[in-house]
Assembly symmetry: C2
């Protein structure tokens, strides 16, 4: 087995986020569920967009956000996902390249629109999302670069991929390739409704294919169909090698068999927008993990990255996370 050339390869939906500040009432009026992600077709996306105020466009996509966080920490990260040959695709590719994430725009682009995620930010800093996948949903096994997967310490997959049949196969191909090369596979459960849609598959996957699991409280409770966090914790600890369970301002719990760490959230002055908190938590955690740090240190670095991203609008770091890690000794 040769030395890995990438710390983390992330695979997911390539999206451009369109953020707008809205009052709470619009969530009900648009039949959305606060704090969750709804997958919609182009027509529904257009109808929701027309109801929203002026927007800010920024590159997004859960797994891609995580890749930018790892790069910002100084780690080597790559991303695989599909973009359109359009302006949003150019923006998405530019924003990865310029932060240092390895991505092949030419090999990743196809005709059709780049995926778009309408992110409605309410006064409580909560975000409610409405995604039209566009060509992001075309991800298929033939798009998984087996050599890159084999060269990455960790291949990180977002649960959202499970919503599309070919992307699900791509997910399986990538996970198999990583394990065949002796590497690790990480999964983010992404969203409680996503878990609800694919519970059986996720339970089976976690049993055999996932080395590091990321989930928030709602997601892990949904996975095991339990009402309280502690019950979910007891289930996951013997189900998965490492699970990092985030609980917003109550911090995170990291479990690996009998090893359990409770890591406090990093303090934040004002929470502006929680978009990307989970993505950046995963970035910090995986950056530390691939650098050989212990699990408590992984948790602290995850918390630090999450605290940075919720302090401003958008799901990607605005400052160097490497500098921030030095400043906070994380």
């Amino acid at each position: 087995m040769s030395e890995p050339t990438l710390d983390v390869l992330t695979i997911g939906n390539a999206l451009v986020d369109v953020l707008s500040h809205e009052q709470d009432a619009i969530i009900d009026r648009l039949d959305l569920i606060k704090g969750t992600m709804a997958m919609v077709d182009g027509a529904r996306s257009d109808a929701v967009y027309a109801a929203l105020g002026p927007g800010i466009e920024v590159s997004g996509g859960s797994a891609a956000n995580t890749a930018t966080g790892i790069a910002s920490f100084g780690g080597s990260a790559g991303f695989v996902g599909r973009i359109g040959k359009d302006q949003f695709g150019q923006v998405f590719a530019h924003d990865l390249a310029t932060i240092g994430v390895t991505f092949d725009p030419d090999g990743s682009s196809t005709s059709g629109p780049t995926g778009k995620c309408l992110v409605i930010v309410t006064p409580d800093a909560q975000r409610t999302m409405c995604t039209s996948l566009g060509v992001a949903g075309d991800l298929a096994p033939e798009h998984i670069p087996s050599d890159v997967v084999a060269s990455a310490r960790v291949t990180y997959l977002e649960g959202f991929l499970w919503d599309q049949p070919t992307a699900k196969e791509a997910f399986r191909t990538a996970a198999r390739g990583a394990h065949d090369a002796g590497r690790q596979v990480a999964l983010s459960l992404s969203d409680p409704f996503c878990v609800d849609r694919h519970r059986g598959d996720f339970l089976e996957l976690i049993e055999g294919q996932i080395d590091v699991l990321f989930a928030n409280e709602d997601e892990i409770c949904s996975l095991y169909e339990v009402d309280d966090f502690d019950a979910a914790l007891q289930r996951v600890r013997h189900h998965c090698s490492i699970a990092a369970l985030t609980r917003s301002e109550r911090g995170a719990v990291i479990v690996a068999g009998d090893e359990v760490h409770v890591v406090d959230a990093h303090p934040v002055d004002t929470v502006i927008d929680t978009t990307g908190a989970g993505d950046q938590y995963a970035a910090g955690f995986l950056h530390a993990l691939t650098a050989g740090r212990d699990l408590a240190a992984c948790g602290r670095r995850g918390a630090l990255a999450a605290s940075e991203v919720i302090g401003h609008l958008g799901a990607r770091p605005e400052v160097s996370l490497a500098d921030l890690a030095v400043a906070h000794g994380a």
Copy 2:
């Protein structure tokens, strides 16, 4: 003469801004001049973009920004400019419609790229811009809706239009149409280098065609080729019916013949990004002017609008300027 149906019609380059935070060094490295706008072709724009960090895309364009400010104050505003049939064009049209600015996206779109303005924000909150006009530069006399011009109390034109031969003709057509209908014409000088390129034309225009002139200190000094603000002030007071001259944190001076008002800048906690300060100053001023307020009140409302926009990233208001005006008694 029938009652006006619009307070202000603004005409200018339809642009999407791509903002990025950069260190000062990049300005020299890219051969740009801090605080100014460089007009570039697509290839140069691509080269500059490739050198910049991750961006935030927001609708922009000087005159369009002014229209959104007037709408945010509760005034009726329209915009005329050219967009492409592309994603940036859709974003631009959405962001005008949703804030209440009258704009005809179908009649205003053409094949070719929507104009793009790379906005480099340095740590001093100053912005340096690099614009590739795309189809915004195609604006021509046949695109000026004579009925709309005739129905607006004020037609507001940005000096940047003078950089394109057909847009210059469109500018003349609009100004003539407004005056023929007994309406007023306002001009923003836009940028000191723009003034330098078109000094003779601007001097002649102001003499005969402009009722309200907006300029900052650099621009008005460039216009009259004088070194100090007071010298420029003495020149402009007998040259133009109303001139509103902005001086950043030193406030603004409004002159109309023998009438002179010095209006302080509105206090700001932290200046984040000066992009759009002049555009929003014009919005507040024109909103008050078209409501029949006196010149001092126009100046105070301009200062209030400018203070809102420099407190955050981007060139358009983030809160209701009408609410802000009530809160501050402006």
